[in-house]
Amino acid sequence: MLILARKVNESINIGDQVEISVVDIRGDQVKIGIKAPREVKIYRHEVYEAIQQENRAAAAASTDLPALESMLIRPKDQDES
């Protein structure tokens, strides 16, 4: 991994179209500004990780699938009683 030291208001260019700048540093938090074309996907890494983990959990589940309808009848019956 390439590691570069930057101060507030300094920036890094990635290719011709992406610029990443350090906007603010407070304690252990860094505010980062990103200029990039609209089609470049930018997400917090945790979002990707959370979806990956959830996908793995979903794939690992058993094939014993409930019928949603039968699970729903019960609360409805209670409403009517």
């Binding site: 609209r38 089609e39 996907k41 997400y43 979002v47 990707y48 959370a50 979806i51 990956q52 983990q53 959830e54 996908n55 793995r56 959990a57 979903a58 794939a59 589940a61 058993s62 094939t63 014993d64 699938l65 409930p66 019928a67 949603l68 309808e69 699970m71 729903l72 609360p75 409805k76 409403d79």
Partner: protein, 151 residues
């Protein structure tokens, strides 16, 4: 074609049910070929990997329990599977369902929707740009609150 499926064993599946995920599914990036099957239990579907029979996902149409669900993704995610904003009829949207041992706690992932181009039979998992949609929505709870609203 004959397909070994996780839920139903060996099945005859129409070629037209085959869907290519050119970018895979997050966490399963190297699996590209799937078939979309109706589950015996409505309103679920199975997305069965053709490459690894043990890998299959339960899917649901988010509208079933969240009629207010909107697909908020960046345009290039749609363009990559030849869909545009005005291509609604051709767009299928699913959420992957996670079913724990206690079935009543099943959740749907609305943050990472699956988008499928029905005509071209290609799909991708996208990441919602709307923070309202989370990785775990409790399907039964949200259905119950929906019911209360409409009563």
């Amino acid at each position: 074609m004959r397909v070994q499926t996780k839920p139903y064993g060996m099945l005859d599946v129409d070629e037209r049910q085959k869907i290519i995920f050119p970018f895979g599914i997050l966490g399963f990036e190297n699996l590209r070929e799937y078939v979309l099957l109706d589950a015996v239990q409505q309103p679920f579907y199975w997305l069965q990997s053709l490459e690894v029979p043990e890998i299959a996902f339960v899917l649901i149409n988010p509208q079933v329990f969240r009629p207010d669900y909107t697909l908020d993704v960046i345009d290039s995610d749609l363009e990559e599977i030849d869909l545009g904003k005005n291509n609604g009829d051709n767009t299928l949207i699913f959420a992957i369902v996670t079913i724990p041992e206690n079935h009543s706690k099943m959740t749907a992932n609305l943050q990472g929707p699956l988008i499928i181009n029905r005509e071209k039979r290609v799909g991708r998992q996208s990441v919602s740009t709307n923070e309202k949609w989370k990785v775990r929505h409790f399907i039964l709870d949200e259905l119950a609150s929906l019911r209360n609203e409409t009563c």
